[in-house]
Amino acid sequence: MKMKFTALVAAAMMAAAPALADLVVPNLSYRTGPYAPGGVPYADGFQDYFTLLNERDGGIGGEKIVVPECETAYNTEKGVECYEATKGTGALAYNPLSTGITYQLIPKVTADGSSLYTPGYGRTSAANGKVFSNVFNYPANYWTAASVAVNYLLSENGGDLKGKKIALVYHNSAYGKEPIRTLEELSKKHGFELVQLPVEHPGQEQKSQWLQIRREKPDNVIMYGWGVMNAVAIQEAANIKYPMDQFIGIWWSGAEHDVLPAGDGANGYKSLTMHGTGMDYPVYADLKKYVADAGKGAGAGDQVGTVLYSRGMYAAMVIAEALRNAQAIAGTSAVNAAQVRDGFETLEITEARMAEIGLPDFGQAFKSTCEDHGGPGMARIQQWDATAKKWNLISGWIEPDMDVIQPLIMEDSEAFAAENNIEPRCN
């Protein structure tokens, strides 16, 4: 009886564990907790893209991709537990969708040799590849987002923001505080006044902040929010009749569930985006055919085409391209973590490649190098149409002001290197 049980357990473990040659990309997701409305569509998009590659192409280079999912509930300790639980499975790359978890995983992935991919979130100065060898945050980050928002406002104001007042409403966390330094530098450069308005987690109550906005009448409001904070802020802005077209959120404040609760009041609200919007891309036809219609979709299948689903899919696409690149460099399909890191570091995604994948003009072209893990940092502006209940792209790719951002990246990353005795690479 005991032997039978042991055999059964062993068989179950063998069935559950990925085969040796599989490409393992854990999905550290959050489908529960206060941030689940953002975590669910992202995790679905991430999972579905890899399912598509497995079903349509037989994986990457003939190797199946295994995506074990681990629930973090957007909790840093649980995120670290998930990392520890999955790293022994031959995990090649992580994308935890949490700045807090990212900060904890940076030393771990560096020591273990795997890669951390954090598009549009995480530690901004990880863009400096000389210091952060195993972390990649292209195509854009928090600081470039702040700069793109300001550059957009410059373009809206005839290139001059002198004497203007811009309020920053931010989640009072490591994430929310990220753009402050950049915006302070940009306010000095362009002569606008910056008003900072922190909002406590989870952001259900923001009356004080919006009364202050009503009183100070800033020309523009920039928001770095996440979770319920976004929906409440947009509702409060509508309540005080703040002009929605002067209210811009970062890409983490620009999903459907952020604007829908405010109904018509959210009409005209803008947000940054680092990728295209809607389902008008050929890859969606393949997702429907090979994933949704085949009954292999992740979650409930009701998130396809939403902003955060697209972002999860985009992150998966970049990781898949890094895996493909790693296979090409290493000359083998069964790549290991070190080879995948090289794949990330030398990754180039061109517009032609995006079109080939079925995502023409969906994301910006970029090329990673040993020094630059951050990409060009561009973003577009999307605007919410409350009647049609959809986002519309209203700008082309806007470049950030790297003259301001690059020194900040260097300063922060060099301080990190000094604190952690890291010898800069790429010399």
């Binding site: 489908r31 529960t32 907790g33 206060p34 689940a36 409305p37 669910v40 009072n172 900072q196 308005l197 922190p198 909002v199 406590e200 987690h201 989870p202 952001g203 259900q204 109550e205 009356k207 004080s208 009364l211 009503r214 009183r215 979770g227 319920v228 929906a231 409440v232 509702q235 509508a238 309540n239 005080i240 009749k241 569930h257 829908l260 609760p261 109904g263 009041g265 009954g295 979650g299 409930a300 299948g301 009701d302």
Partner: protein, 328 residues
């Protein structure tokens, strides 16, 4: 008069309004604690569950559709009908009564005469169970709650105050409704407990449940009754908070806003929950307005607790709570 004075007044008024919203949550805690001595950790989750159920019923959402679809390979999401808000609210109230019966039957009945800490732990378990159940039943996405409550600035008040003082005050129409609802709720609860047979039974159990049992009052029925009322109060709180921010998981965290209200107002007093809410709401907003900018802002969450602790130092039972004297 200077603008700053009017702005401070506006902040204070909005603080009072926010305080009413906190009181709505605190009321549920008070009701259960008063009648059974249980600190119901699940009260915030009850508000979330009630709001989720209300939206689900209103929109004709099929409960457990994700699970059904996953097991049977179906693609069910909606019944294809929508319910009027009043009907959906009534049905949700029935669901909350059903939940009270189940809680009594499967949890409380088995814990009679246990230490309060055991009952408290049971409500923690209940909170996590209900969170999961709500998620599985109705999904975790943010839902818009629309039961026809007005929202946005009250232009009447803005215009009137502008004409009088040259400064138009911002008062949210939803907050005015919440204040009226809270007042109606307190009056109804007071009338119920003072003038009805069941209300008197409830008070008798609250005073001395052994004595109440000896005169034939059913403790089990009283528990069902009080949990049903607390469920209804949770539904009201869920409607108000859900209308403000959409119905989503964070709604359960509004309980954290009710705790300092209870500490300040006392765990056993309905007027205490209201007064406590008003003091906390006004205090935290005025502190954020006057001191917040000097220390980096975002003070509201922790300052509410500081304020409650200050009161506790001088009145451990809270402003309106009953003084507990144990003789040995």
């Amino acid at each position: 008069m200077p603008d700053t004075f009017f702005y401070a007044t506006e902040v204070m008024l909005n603080g009072l309004m926010a305080g009413v919203m906190y009181s709505l949550v605190a009321l549920g805690f008070v009701l259960i604690f008063k009648a059974s001595g249980i600190f119901n950790y699940a009260q915030g989750v009850l508000a979330l569950f009630a709001a989720l159920t209300l939206v689900g019923l209103q929109d004709g959402q099929i409960p457990f559709s994700h699970v059904i679809n996953a097991i049977f390979g179906t693609d069910l999401h909606n019944f294809g009908w929508t319910l009027p808000a009043v009907v959906a609210i009534a049905l949700t109230a029935v669901v909350m009564v059903g939940m009270a019966i189940l809680i009594e039957r499967y949890i409380l009945k088995h814990l009679v005469n246990q230490e309060p800490i055991i009952l408290f732990m049971a409500t923690i378990g209940l909170a996590y169970f209900l969170e999961g159940l709500g998620d599985v039943m109705w999904g975790s996405d943010i839902k818009k709650l629309d039961v026809g409550l007005p929202q946005g600035i009250s232009e009447t008040i803005e215009t009137a105050t502008y004409n009088w003082f040259g400064y138009g005050f911002f008062i949210d129409k939803l907050d005015i409704v919440a204040a009226l609802v809270a007042a109606a709720l307190v009056i109804a609860l007071t009338l119920f407990s003072q003038y009805t047979k069941y209300g008197r039974a409830l008070r008798a159990v609250a005073d001395d449940h052994q004595a109440a049992l000896s005169v034939g009052i059913s403790l089990r029925f009283i528990w069902v009754l009080v949990w049903s009322i607390a469920g209804f109060v949770a539904l009201v709180a869920g409607i108000m908070w859900g209308s403000k921010s959409g119905v989503q998981f964070s709604l359960s965290l509004i309980a954290l806003k009710a705790l300092p209200v209870l500490m300040l107002g006392g765990f056993t007093s309905i007027p205490g929950a209201i007064v406590g809410g008003l003091i906390i709401g006004m205090g935290e907003k005025l502190f954020e307005f006057s001191i917040g900018p000097m220390i980096g802002g975002a003070t509201e969450n922790w300052f509410a607790y500081v304020l409650a602790l200050l009161f506790l130092v001088f009145r451990p039972q809270g402003l309106f709570g009953e003084k507990i004297i144990e003789r040995v």
